[in-house]
């Protein structure tokens, strides 16, 4: 069922990717939205009353958090669709999204930690959101580890799909349990970053989220193309090997 069509792949060359109209449009959108997001984050949005300038870390922290959760939703979608349809395309989507989700989760944790250090004076709080994000990070790192430990591509795709589904079911359960567990030992909670925000700030944040989402799409496409190329490489090597055997 795994069909790899050679024609899907553009030939080698530095600018080959940019010659496709869809890709060129996507990259243009990425540049525009990112430029706008940076402008709004630093110049358009006003300084905050209590935190002054450091709050601007929000404009990378919140998009990272949003994409972390969104990416893992896409992993679950790809996994379910792979188990139903059996097409490798869905598994490639799940893999790409998991890898990028881990990247954004890491960035979310790092920026959150830096922000926390500057606002509360500590690097870590046992806040449900933080703790759940950390455990989610572990779940999807183990998803990637499982993939790299199984050599047979067919088995790998199916086992990974199951882990992808189990992961998305685990996250809300982890969230509830951490929420209750924390009440055993109360610690100050993070103030809601979206609460009572001036409209300019909110607009800047929404633009940032949109720009990072475009970035996510660019990354997923690129990672899926890499996986497709790697799969085709395996098939071509095999074909060459078989031909060499036949001639010998």
């Amino acid at each position: 069922m795994r069909e790899v069509r050679t024609t899907e792949l553009p030939g080698p060359g530095r600018r080959a990717v940019l010659r496709e109209p869809a890709t060129a449009a996507l990259y243009a959108a990425l540049l525009l939205s990112m430029g706008l997001a940076i402008f709004m984050a630093f110049l358009f949005a006003p300084a905050e009353r209590v935190q002054a300038e450091v709050y601007r870390i929000l404009f990378v922290h919140v998009p990272s958090a949003w994409l972390a959760f969104f990416a893992f939703g896409v992993v679950a979608l790809g996994s379910v669709m792979f188990l139903i349809r059996g097409r490798s395309r869905w598994d490639r989507l799940a893999l790409a999204s998991a890898e990028i989700g881990v990247l954004f989760t890491t960035l979310c944790l790092v920026t959150g930690s830096i922000w926390g250090r500057s606002v509360w004076g500590v690097w870590w709080q046992w806040d449900p959101r933080l703790t759940t994000t950390l455990i989610m990070w572990f779940i999807y790192v183990s998803y990637l580890a499982l993939r790299s430990y199984i050599d047979d591509p067919d088995i790998r795709q199916r086992m990974a799909s199951v882990v992808g589904i189990v992961g998305v079911v685990s996250v809300p359960i982890v969230w509830f349990s951490v929420e209750w567990w924390r009440s055993l030992h109360p610690t100050p909670s993070i103030t809601n970053p979206g609460g009572g925000m001036p409209p300019e700030m909110l607009t800047a944040l929404l633009v940032s989220v949109a720009a990072f989402t475009v970035f996510y799409i660019v990354l997923v496409r690129q990672r899926m193309q890499l996986e497709l190329a790697v799969a085709e490489l395996g098939i071509l090597r095999e074909r060459l090997h078989e031909r060499n055997e036949e001639t010998a």
């Binding site: 199951v162 589904i165 189990v166 349990s177």
Partner: protein
């Protein structure tokens, strides 16, 4: 048919009538094993179809009832006797008049004198004979044998036609072999498999043998519950004989109690109860992870997982049986740890709410781990991967367990215990449902 990065089989097409015998001859790596495993439903072909009795797929449990399969390794449990191995297979297949049929099979394959010996003391040849008896036990309509002559002595090879005639006279038999003499001895049509392509031998006689009548009534596959129960009883008996898991886990639990207590010695003065609770749940989690890693691996390494998958039982039954086994082991470890810690740290951990929490948590954790155990069997370094995969989703179980036991010891107010018990129950139910639905996807290679 594609497997992995390679085309193993291409354009292979075969049809067998009842009573017909066909030998697949070919060099190593020609794809004989792949073909037979695909026919048995153990591998899913990317393209193409396998049908039994005209229309049914081998992925349908009911269709596998008419199928006898013997791979490279006979699916035998070394800690069961020959008779017990056959009896287990008979229960999974729903063989009528099992005791009589087992006796006939044992006599036919020449093992009646060794029927009550443990299989671990059998030679390779005896194991192969028992494997043949196992494959032919339900008097299958179709028999698939992967190099049945391998590791049989010359007398065994001579007996092979007699065994087939006696135990499955009407069956369509498809087998692979290196040795054309075996194919001739069995009166089989020969087809050659080379580099994934099949060619007919021109010397084949075109007349198929008329099928003989069935010797006994057709087996009726057991109900789902009976099959799950048969697997649990089998595992319990194996564990009773082998004493592989429980004593080791018990030692591990005691060791964890001692080592963790020593590590937290500085905290013991003021917070004994808190330390006891932490040690209890960490050791339960670790013991469950250890036992969970072995859960499917033992069946996988012995080749007996193939035997369970070929049986006419829905594969989710295998997951449920393994879940029950792991839950029992984990609950046992947890309760033992309650006793150890009560004694070592002089706290009153052994009471109804904590025992209840341990049992429910064991169920919840096992529902998660049994599924993941099935996922890591074909992974490299599965011992390393299992904790990484298993512990993060199991964190809520740990937190709920800690919540209940801290309340029971009055370290924290006992108000939330109901919610924690509820959470454990929800986790158990959610993951059991998930495992039952997803395991069949993970099962077949």
């Amino acid at each position: 048919m594609r497997l992995g990065q390679r085309n193993i089989l291409r354009g292979v097409s075969l049809a067998l009538a009842p009573g017909e015998r066909m030998a697949i001859v070919g060099p190593n790596g020609a794809g004989k094993t792949t073909l037979l495993r695909a026919l048995a439903g153990l591998l899913r072909p990317r393209r193409g179809r396998v049908t039994l009795r005209g229309s049914q797929s081998p992925e349908d449990p009911a269709a596998r009832g008419g199928l006898g399969f013997l791979g490279h390794r006979p699916p035998l449990y070394p800690h069961l006797t020959a008779r017990e191995n056959l009896a287990f297979a008979a229960r999974l297949q729903g063989v009528p008049d099992a005791a009589e049929r087992i006796q006939t099979a044992l006599v036919t394959v020449g093992l009646s004198a060794d029927a009550n010996r443990l299989v671990r003391h059998f030679s390779r040849g005896m194991q192969q004979r028992l494997g043949l008896a196992l494959a032919l036990l339900p008097e299958p309509d179709a028999v698939l044998l992967d190099e049945p002559d391998a590791s049989l002595d010359s007398a065994g090879v001579c007996d092979l036609p007699g065994m087939l005639d006696a135990l499955a006279p009407h069956a369509a038999v498809l087998f692979s072999t290196h040795d054309e003499r075996v194919a001739h001895a069995l009166g089989a049509r020969i087809v050659r498999l080379q580099a994934g392509r099949l060619t007919d031998d021109p010397r084949n006689k075109p007349d198929p043998v008329p099928p003989a009548a069935r010797a006994q009534s057709r087996p009726r596959p057991p109900g789902f519950g009976r099959a799950v129960w048969a697997m649990i009883a089998k595992d319990a008996r194996v564990e009773w004989r082998a004493r592989e898991q429980v004593p080791t886990l018990l030692m591990f639990t005691l060791l964890a109690a001692v080592v963790f207590d020593m590590a937290f010695i500085a905290a013991l003065g003021s917070e004994v109860a808190a330390v006891a609770v932490g040690v209890l749940w960490i050791s339960v989690l670790l013991a469950a992870t250890l036992a969970g890693t072995r859960l499917f691996a033992t069946e996988f390494e012995r080749g007996t997982l193939d035997g369970l998958l070929v049986a006419p039982v829905d594969p989710s039954g295998i997951y449920l049986a393994k879940f029950v086994l792991l839950a029992l082991e984990t609950a046992f470890v947890g309760v033992a740890q309650l006793v150890f810690l009560s004694l070592l740290l002089n706290v009153s951990l052994f009471q109804a709410p904590t025992i209840g929490a341990v049992v429910l948590a064991a169920a919840a954790i096992s529902a998660i781990l049994a599924l993941q155990s099935s996922l890591v069997v074909s992974a490299r370094a599965r011992e390393m991967l299992m904790p990484l995969l298993a512990i993060p989703p199991a964190v809520p179980v740990l937190l709920a367990g800690v919540g209940i036991t801290l309340g029971a010891l009055q370290v924290t107010p006992a108000g939330q215990q109901g919610a924690w018990f509820g959470l454990l129950a929800v986790i158990a139910v959610v993951f059991l449902a998930l495992g039952t639905v997803l395991y069949p996807h993970a099962a077949r290679g």
